[in-house]
């Protein structure tokens, strides 16, 4: 399969997805959405890696995606467990409500 996809555009897509994820993290207060947005960002980063790998024709980009995947899995499991605990302690999913850790 020979492709003539403009890799710059693929990277721009990755950037767009990443900023959207960032926007979600910053704008949403519900911790579920924050976690989801983080997933969006991770996914975008993975996309960028794959694009870069495609550019050079090397496997490294894909390997990095697999690592990101592993990390995302770990992060989601711990993050969701924390979220559950938080919900049971504070009876809310509002991230701003969990401010008791400030100095």
């Amino acid at each position: 399969m020979t492709a003539s996809v403009n890799l710059d555009h693929a990277l721009i897509l990755a950037a767009a997805l990443f900023t959207l994820g960032l926007l979600g993290v910053l704008a949403r207060r519900n911790i579920i959405f924050i976690l989801l947005s983080i997933e969006v960002m991770l996914n975008a980063a993975g996309l960028a890696f794959v694009v870069a790998g495609a550019k050079w024709g090397e496997t490294d980009g894909q390997v990095m995606f697999i690592f990101i995947l592993a990390m995302a899995a770990a992060e989601v499991s711990v993050g969701l467990a924390l979220m559950l605990r938080m919900y049971h302690m504070l009876k809310t999913l509002d991230a701003d409500a969990a401010g008791s850790m400030k100095g």
Binding site: F18, L23, N30, F33, F67, A70, S77, A81, D94
Partner: protein
Amino acid sequence: MNAVFYLSAFVAVIATIMVITRVNAVHALLYFIVSLLSVAVIFFVLGAPFIAALEVIIYAGAIMVLFVFVIMLLNIGSEAAEKEKQLLSPQAWTGPASLAAVLLGELIYVLVKGGSGAGGIGIIGPRQVGVSLLTKYVIGVELASMLLLAGLVGAYHLGRRYRKERRRTA
């Protein structure tokens, strides 16, 4: 192929916008799955079929299912969505949106300036990835496995304590 790429890119962006704007978590989740699937298509287009498969199976499958379970566990109903609506005032979007826009602008500027252009894309199959993963990156694989183990233990620990607490309070 170009058409497929742009179409799925369009879908991915629209779906992601929907993800971050929904008030109902389950809706958002579903949009996110759409987004992931379209990114998987892009992976396929970029000559990474293995990754495309992983994207669908693990991301859209496993991880999202985890989210769904948790949302079910939390048992938040329609009143939660109402509350969420209140929180999402238009003003809450302005600051983050401008910051994100600046970032996006910068990134695009860099990419356009860098101008790598289109490259010939060859397919990099699962075999090559697997070989590379278990030779060059074997330490990384080990570390990832440790991370997953740690995540497992951590999640279990956090969840277990919670259950104990609940029992005590009950």
